[in-house]
């Protein structure tokens, strides 16, 4: 570990991790083991990467809220403490081919991965508008950066202590119209992502949504982070947000059916993809992953020290 600093209500932890920094693409995450070598906390904690920098051969920073036993332990680390880290994991944000008007929407420290994304988008000639939100002013992450490098930056807080009072979705339509938004990149609680997708659908704007679903392993083995997602073939599958996400096309996620097994999902009780009598002959039962996998380098596992 290199540094740990306070950022308003959150902590930002920077690791010297050249192998992760080199492979990282915006939207990907890392997992860390918490509690030290003899820990009783078996689940790895997943965090979106906020930023990578070339110094010290490559550093990786992530932002967290010290709200549970694992994250409180992280907040007690000191420079030079080792931290068991795996990454980069997951599918990154897809980038538009042509210069586009991009709206980057983040709630709480969910906005952390958006700034590295903004840098990539700018390289491609995209314009960036930010919409950030949180419970209160001290929980809005990155407002200063957003103001500095965005074409516009709007903020909404539930208590009205910063920007507009209310949810981010309150300002969304106005920004879409004014900025002539082509695509929305959103990283927020699923309840917000659902609203954002609903509004964007009315304007026929695609949403790339980074979901924040609790994970225990981050590598796809535990099957704990599944959510119902419709594939491009029209079939709904329970997919893992760690390996098939965390970024999903908003219109493909069955937001209303989270925490359920939709009756028409592949393999649901009584499922029959081809109506009564089962599938037509010759139809494969499982046509694989819902979307083609981008070739990415393998993640690294290492204990990184500062």
């Amino acid at each position: 570990m290199l540094t740990l600093r306070r950022v308003d209500a959150y902590h930002a932890l920077t690791l010297v991790a050249p192998a992760i920094a080199t492979k990282f693409r915006p939207g990907q995450f890392i997992t860390v083991a918490v509690g030290g070598p003899e820990t009783s906390m078996l689940g790895r904690r997943a965090f979106a990467v906020h930023d990578v920098r070339p110094d010290h051969g490559g550093t990786v920073e992530f932002v967290f809220d010290a709200s549970g036993p694992g994250t409180r332990w992280l907040a007690t680390l000191h420079a030079r403490d080792a931290l068991d880290t795996v990454g980069p994991l997951g599918r990154p944000f897809p980038l538009p081919k042509d210069p586009s008007s991009c709206l980057l929407l983040g709630v709480g420290y969910g906005s952390a991965p958006l700034f590295a994304l903004a840098a990539r988008l700018k390289e491609r000639g995209c314009s960036i508008d930010y919409l950030l939100g949180a419970q209160s002013a001290d929980r809005v992450f990155g407002a200063l950066t957003a103001r500095r490098n965005g074409r516009s930056a709007a903020v909404a807080t539930s208590d009205g202590s910063f920007g507009a009072r209310g949810p981010v979705t309150l300002l969304l339509e106005q920004i879409i119209r004014e900025a002539r938004t082509d695509v929305i990149y959103a990283s927020a609680p699923v309840s917000v992502l659902r609203e954002v997708t609903a509004i964007a659908t009315r304007y026929a704007i695609p949403v790339q949504a980074s979901v924040d679903v609790p994970m225990a392993c981050g590598t796809g083995v535990c099957m704990g982070c599944v959510l119902p997602v419709t594939g491009t073939d029209g079939i709904t599958r329970m997919v893992r947000s760690c390996v098939d996400g965390p970024v999903f096309r908003g219109d493909l996620v069955r937001w209303d059916d989270l925490n359920t097994i939709p009756f028409d999902a592949l393999g649901a009780p009584g499922w029959s993809g081809a109506g009564p009598g089962g599938r037509p002959p010759g139809t494969p039962r499982d046509r694989g992953d819902p979307s083609p996998r981008t070739p990415l380098g393998p993640p690294e596992r290492q204990t990184y020290a500062g």
């Binding site: 078996l42 225990a216 083995v221 099957m223 390996v243 499982d286």
Partner: protein, 317 residues
């Protein structure tokens, strides 16, 4: 001198006795990013069912002290996709594959075993008996010696003769030896001990069960003493039946403990979620621990704790 870590399942020799437990190694691809799957003793697949299965709603997992409580509900692609996609991939990487099967009826188990018998490259079949029986009001097969035995007998009957059948047993029974005995009598070539223990957690904030499935299977180091006890008891009763020991193995030392209790192979499970390279690490640590004890062959320590060789291995060079 390097320690001989080899083990044997039926006719297949495994390069080492550290396996990846069912449901903890995904389809193998997930681990291949971190370790060479060919160097794992054998990979035990997620339990495969006849049809694709969505599993349970979320939340499915919750962390408990030194444990993981999970209720995934056997989400899986079904045997067709497994045979078309997952098994060939594993074999192409040089992995040895023990296929775990799960069913709701005795017949479903038997049909799965028959399908696997038509396929090359199945090292063994592990029968996951912790499945609700559609023929017995949803009671788990593993809870009843007779029902467990009838599944094993059907599987043994339809599986090719040279594919060993291992029965995976649940520890939540009054008399584990009775269930193990019924499985052995029904033709099981070996036993996998133990499956998870049934547990439950309640979230005080929501005042509701933490898992959508209400109950979950408890795994991780929290259950290791139960695993050691179960392996010990079953080994005492059936000294000639091979046991794959599993339950909370985190280090080479833990693996050694299960070997001493009577397991001839061990499997690493939940620890893989914590450390994706756990199988390779546990193997290395176990080898070091055995070398430190001046043991030449891992097989020599199996069941040593039962004291059939007074004074242990000391002076037995």
């Amino acid at each position: 001198m390097p320690v001989d870590m080899r083990a044997r399942i039926g006719l297949v020799e495994l390069p080492n006795l550290v396996l990846a437990a069912s449901g903890c190694a995904g389809a193998g691809r997930e681990l291949a990013q971190f370790i060479d799957v060919a160097r794992v003793g054998a990979l035990i697949s997620k339990s495969i069912m006849a049809e694709p299965h969505t599993g349970n709603p979320s939340p499915r997992l919750t962390e408990t002290p030194s444990g993981m409580l999970s209720s995934v509900g056997l989400q899986g692609p079904g045997i067709d996709a497994f045979l078309q996609r997952d098994l060939p991939w594993l074999l192409s990487r040089g992995a040895r594959v023990v296929v775990s099967i799960a069913g709701q009826t005795v017949r479903e188990y038997a049909e799965l075993a028959a399908r696997l018998s038509d396929t090359a490259g199945v090292t063994a079949i592990e029968v996951n008996l912790s499945c609700p029986s559609a023929e017995d009001a949803g009671r788990l097969f593993a809870l009843d010696p007779q029902r467990a035995g009838s599944v094993i007998s059907a599987v043994r009957g339809s599986a090719r003769y040279d594919i060993p059948v291992f029965a995976k047993l649940a520890p939540d029974v009054t008399d584990l030896v009775a269930v193990a005995g019924a499985c052995v009598a029904a033709g099981a070539d070996g036993l996998s001990l133990i499956n998870t223990l049934m547990g439950m957690a309640i979230d005080p904030r929501t005042m509701r069960p933490a898992l959508a499935g209400t109950y979950g299977g408890l795994s991780g180091p929290a259950i290791r003493p139960v695993a050691v006890r179960c392996v010990w008891q079953v080994r005492e009763a059936f000294p000639s039946v091979p046991i794959i020991g599993m339950g909370g193995v985190r280090t080479g030392r833990d693996a050694l403990e299960l070997l001493l209790a009577g397991a001839s192979m061990i499997a690493v499970g939940t620890e893989i979620m914590h450390d994706p390279a756990a199988c390779a690490r546990v193997l290395r640590e176990l080898e070091e621990a055995l070398a430190a004890l001046s043991v030449d062959r891992a097989a020599d320590v199996v069941a040593q704790a039962h004291g059939r060789f007074p004074g242990g291995l000391a002076g037995r060079t």
